[in-house]
C-alpha cells in the first residue's frame, strides 16, 4: 500500500516446509527499507540478535539487505528457518524480486 509520504507498507507470512513460521512487516520507500519487523515461532540464538538485525536493515537497499541477512545468519544458530527463508519473506513482503 503506497502512502502519501512515499512510504509503502508490506507484510508477508511464510511457513517454512517442515520448519517454522516467519512473519515480516516492512515499511519501505522505493528500494530502501525504512523499518523491518520479524516475528515468528522459530528459534534463534542468541535471541537478542534479531533486534540488532532489524535495526541494521534500516535505511538499507533491498540488495544490501540480502547481504546483511546472509552475513547475520552465519553468526547465529537458528532452527526451523534459514537465511534464504528470511530473504524469501522479505521479497514477498515488498512484492519484488531482487
Amino acid at each position: 500500500m503506497l502512502q502519501k509520504s512515499g512510504i509503502s507498507e508490506g507484510k508477508a507470512d511464510y511457513k517454512v516446509p517442515g520448519g517454522k513460521l516467519i512473519r515480516m512487516r516492512v515499511r519501505y520507500s522505493g528500494d530502501v527499507l525504512r523499518e523491518v519487523r520479524i516475528n515468528g515461532d522459530f528459534f534463534l540464538h542468541p535471541e537478542e540478535a534479531l533486534e540488532k538485525l532489524e535495526e541494521s536493515l534500516k535505511d538499507r537497499s533491498l540488495k544490501e539487505a540480502v547481504e546483511i541477512i546472509r552475513e547475520f545468519c552465519q553468526h547465529v544458530e537458528m532452527a526451523g528457518v534459514s537465511s534464504e527463508d528470511f530473504i524469501k519473506v522479505l521479497k514477498l513482503a515488498v512484492k519484488k524480486d531482487f
Binding site: 517454522k20 519487523r37 516475528n39 522459530f42 528459534f43 540464538h45 544458530e77
Partner: protein, 246 residues
C-alpha cells in the same frame, strides 16, 4: 542435580523462577503447573498477532512472553505438566549448540514417556511425538549463565479452549483446526493413560535422571532465587513493556 517439584503458580512467576534458576546456573530439574491457566508466547512472536487478548482477559487467562523462542502454548491448569531444566555450559547435556542439546534433553521426555508405557520419539527441532502426533514441545535459550530448556507434556487436550485464545486466520479455519487437531496432536489421556500428575512428574524426574546420568536430589529454590523470581516476575514478566515488546 536439584529436583524441584513445584506446584501451581501464575505465569509471570513461573517464567521468572525459570530465569532466576538460569541466572544461578545450578543444575536443576523443575516441574510445575499454571494457575490461572496461561498462554505463553515465544520470544519472537507478536502478542497481538498470536493471542486474542480480549478473550484471554475475559477468561482470566494469563499471557506471558517467554525468553525462549518457539510458538504460542496454551498451558491449561489441568491439561499439562511443564518442566524446566538448567545446565551450566560445562555439563555434557548442555552441548555445543542448541541443536545438539535439544536432542539429548528431549531424550529425557522420550524416556519419561517410556516409563509411562508410551512409545515416543524425538521428531526434530523441539518436538516429541507418539505415532507422528505431537505430545510435547520444548524451547531452549542459551545465555551467558548457562542453558535453560523448558517444555510441556500434554496430559489432556481442550482444543475449543485453546483455539478461542490463540489467533487463527479465520473462523472457518478455526473449526477445521479444532476438528483436525487429533490428527496432529495427542495427549496422555487420548492415549488411554489414566495417570496422576504425580506419576507424570515421577516419570519426568526418572527419565531425565537416566538420560543425564544424574541423581535427582529433592530440593527447593534458594531464598535468593525466590527473591529474584518475585522481583523479575513483577518487573519483567508482568510488565507491558516486556509482554508487548513485539
Amino acid at each position: 542435580m536439584r529436583l524441584i517439584r513445584d506446584t501451581y503458580h501464575p505465569a509471570p512467576y513461573n517464567m521468572a523462577l525459570d530465569e532466576a534458576i538460569l541466572r544461578s546456573a545450578v543444575p536443576t530439574f523443575r516441574t510445575y503447573s499454571w494457575e490461572p491457566s496461561a498462554v505463553s508466547i515465544g520470544y519472537f512472536q507478536s502478542i497481538e498477532e498470536e493471542v486474542d487478548l480480549v478473550e484471554a482477559e475475559r477468561m482470566g487467562v494469563d499471557v506471558v512472553r517467554r525468553i525462549t523462542g518457539g510458538g504460542a502454548v496454551f498451558h491449561d491448569r489441568d491439561g499439562e505438566v511443564t518442566y524446566s531444566i538448567v545446565l551450566p555450559y560445562g555439563h555434557p547435556a548442555a552441548g555445543k549448540s542448541a541443536k545438539e542439546s535439544y536432542k539429548v534433553l528431549c531424550g529425557g521426555i522420550v524416556e519419561a514417556l517410556g516409563i509411562l508405557g508410551v512409545d515416543a520419539e524425538f521428531a526434530g527441532i523441539n518436538d516429541v511425538v507418539v505415532d507422528g502426533k505431537k505430545i510435547s514441545g520444548s524451547a531452549q535459550t542459551r545465555k551467558k549463565w548457562g542453558v535453560l530448556q523448558h517444555g510441556t507434556l500434554l496430559y489432556d487436550l481442550k482444543p475449543e479452549l485453546m483455539f478461542s485464545l490463540l489467533r487463527v486466520p479465520s473462523e472457518k479455519i478455526r473449526d477445521k483446526m479444532i476438528a483436525n487437531i487429533y490428527e496432529r496432536v495427542t495427549s496422555l489421556r487420548h492415549l488411554g493413560l489414566d495417570v496422576s500428575r504425580k506419576e507424570v512428574e515421577d516419570a519426568f524426574a526418572k527419565g531425565f535422571s537416566r538420560v543425564l546420568g544424574e541423581n535427582m536430589e529433592p530440593s527447593e529454590p534458594t531464598e535468593e532465587e525466590i527473591e529474584m523470581a518475585e522481583r523479575i516476575a513483577e518487573e519483567k514478566y508482568a510488565s507491558k513493556e516486556w509482554n508487548f515488546r513485539r
